[in-house]
């Protein structure tokens, strides 16, 4: 169950909206902070989203720069390599992230991947804190498998908004807001994938990697996704756009 309310930084969350009748502890998500003794205030502007079942509330916003959080999937660019690490950027002109050279699937000193400066990697953030450079990993800590992470070869990178990346990574049932408020489910990928084959990697840092095999296909998919983001297309509009894109590709 969700309800919506626009909050500005410093606004107090009305106590009537706080979830009740649940014995779980109250969870404050991004954009909210507890102001003792009993009020909750917003620290960013956005729409308040309440999940009564999980006893959680957070602010949904589609702006700002990316701040690394543990377990986020990001697309990072390798800047240079040193003896033990690849030094990568998640966002340009922000702190560099370190990717250990052995943090790849079945990597040893001899079999580790050689990444040139400028190469793209799809990685998970393994540690992030305010006072330290974030650390990346391309391997699952529990299974030792890559799970789709690793160097990205070919394809093209597209810039999209942070909110859109979030929506792309969420499953349809979990999308918190209707499309008019900048949220909403994204079906364009599924609609396109019915007819054509392509690979996509979504980074939470506002990057979208698409590889459709050739220039035309990659560009068409990337542009369609960018348009969906910028014009805040609803589900019907997304389906129309997908049909148009497919028509132009001639398939």
């Amino acid at each position: 169950m969700t309800s919506t309310l626009l909050l500005l930084p410093g606004d107090e969350v009305p106590s009537s909206l706080l979830p009740k009748g649940n014995h779980k502890p109250l969870v404050l998500g991004p954009g909210l902070r507890h102001a003792p003794p009993s009020s909750v205030r917003a620290t960013v502007s956005g729409t308040l989203t309440v999940d009564a079942r999980k006893n959680a509330l957070w602010i949904e916003t589609n702006r700002g720069r990316y701040i690394p959080h543990v377990n986020d999937l990001v697309i990072a660019t390798v800047l240079r390599s040193s003896s033990d690490f690849y030094h990568c950027t998640i966002t340009p002109h922000a702190a560099q992230a370190n990717l250990p050279q052995l943090a790849f699937e079945s990597a040893t000193r001899k079999t580790r991947p050689q990444l040139a400066p400028g190469a793209l990697v799809y990685a998970r953030i393994s540690s992030a804190s305010r006072d330290m450079d974030p650390e990346l990993s391309c391997v699952s800590a529990s299974s030792g498998k890559a799970d789709g992470l690793g160097p990205l070869k070919g394809g093209m990178l597209f810039d999209v908004s942070l909110g859109f990346c979030r929506r792309l990574l969420l499953s349809e049932s979990k999308v918190p807001l209707p499309a008019e408020q900048g949220g909403g489910a994204v079906t364009i990928l599924e609609a396109l994938a019915e007819k054509i084959g392509f690979e996509v990697a979504v980074g939470r840092n506002g990057k979208l990697w698409v590889d459709g095999g050739d220039v035309k296909m990659t560009l068409a998919v990337g542009k369609a996704l960018q348009q969906t983001d910028q014009e805040r297309l609803t589900l019907d509009q997304q389906k129309k756009l997908a049909a148009k894109t497919l028509r132009e590709l001639g398939s």
């Binding site: 660019t77 950027t89 340009p92 002109h93 040139a116 400028g118 190469a119 793209l120 990205l152 070869k153 070919g154 394809g155 093209m156 990178l157 990697w209 220039v215 035309k216 990659t218 560009l219 542009k223």
Partner: protein, 292 residues
């Protein structure tokens, strides 16, 4: 010192491969400009140009000073550029980077040294009083094509600017405020505009008005400055790979078409603005050019 974020290898390869297949990332043909949008401010001499995502604001202002002792019959005309950190994290205030130096040098050559503005007309009393016209160029958003956009903005702002009217009686100079007398337009001798050509794949692909990503990948660029009569004011090429002499000729002929189209657009916008200011149709009577 911060640098412009570099493109990843994947993006570079894709961009070059796309150009080889005659595709630009934004879907434009090779020889077209992005959408140009020109707006004028409330005051005279403020022009706001948007070229795609690139945005430049130029403000022209003037005051009365003494001329340089070695140039007694000339007024003073200065162009200053400022790259705001708002446009790109790579820009720092007070520390010009390479592109800022190139931009100011190009504009200096294109507008000042080609004497687009008749500085002699700015003289009030030889050796004693003259107008000092100053053009401030502010880069507010950077997505490539700074030279082209800045040139459009500067020419439009100069053409839009009005200096206060003056009368000279012997040694006495009276400068009339905007309320007292209708201000006078600057004497522009011609209107040079810049067109930048970017070369890829050892000169096989030539692009007009490259975006920032394309600028980062290009092998060399040639900046052609030309007025609408086809008179070339400068051809600038700062480093990069060598280019063919014949391709330079095609550049200049294609630049002519671009310059004429751009000037037509600027003229249209100027006329539109003049019509808006001319409330009641009294402008012709108020003008200093009117024989009273």
């Amino acid at each position: 010192m911060p640098r412009e974020a570099e493109l990843s290898l994947n993006e570079r390869e894709f961009l070059l491969q796309a150009l080889r297949e005659n595709v630009r990332l934004d879907g434009r043909p090779f020889d077209t400009f992005r959408n140009v949008e020109l707006k004028f401010g409330e005051e005279y001499g403020v022009a706001d140009v948007q070229l795609g995502k690139t945005r430049i604001v130029v403000r022209v202002s003037c005051d009365v000073t003494a001329p340089y002792p070695d140039r007694k019959f000339d007024g003073i005309f200065n162009i200053t550029t400022e790259f705001s950190p708002m446009a790109s994290p790579a820009f720092e205030v007070g520390r010009p980077n390479e592109s800022e130096v190139i931009l100011s040098r190009i504009l200096e050559k294109a507008i000042r040294r080609s004497s687009a503005l008749d500085t002699e007309s700015l003289c009030i009393i030889a050796g004693q009083k003259c107008f000092a016209v100053r053009a401030d160029i502010h880069v507010l958003d950077h997505d490539g094509g700074l030279v082209d956009a800045a040139c459009i903005a500067l020419i439009a702002a100069l053409q839009h600017f009005r200096r206060p009217d003056v009368t000279v009686e012997g040694e006495n100079v009276t400068v009339y405020s905007l309320r007292e007398r209708e201000p006078v337009p600057l004497a522009m001798l011609h209107h040079p505009l810049c067109v930048t050509f970017s070369y890829f794949h050892s000169g096989e692909v030539v692009l007009v008005d490259a975006t920032l990503a394309e600028e980062q990948v290009r092998e060399s660029e040639v900046i052609v400055t030309m007025n609408r009569h086809g008179e070339i004011c400068q051809i600038a090429k700062y480093g990069g790979s060598p280019i063919d002499a014949v391709s330079l000729l095609t550049c200049t002929s294609s630049a002519l078409g671009k310059v004429q189209a751009l000037w037509k657009y600027i003229q249209e916008k100027l006329d539109e603005d003049a019509k808006k200011r001319d409330a009641g149709g009294l402008m012709a009577e108020l003008s200093a050019e009117n024989a009273r």
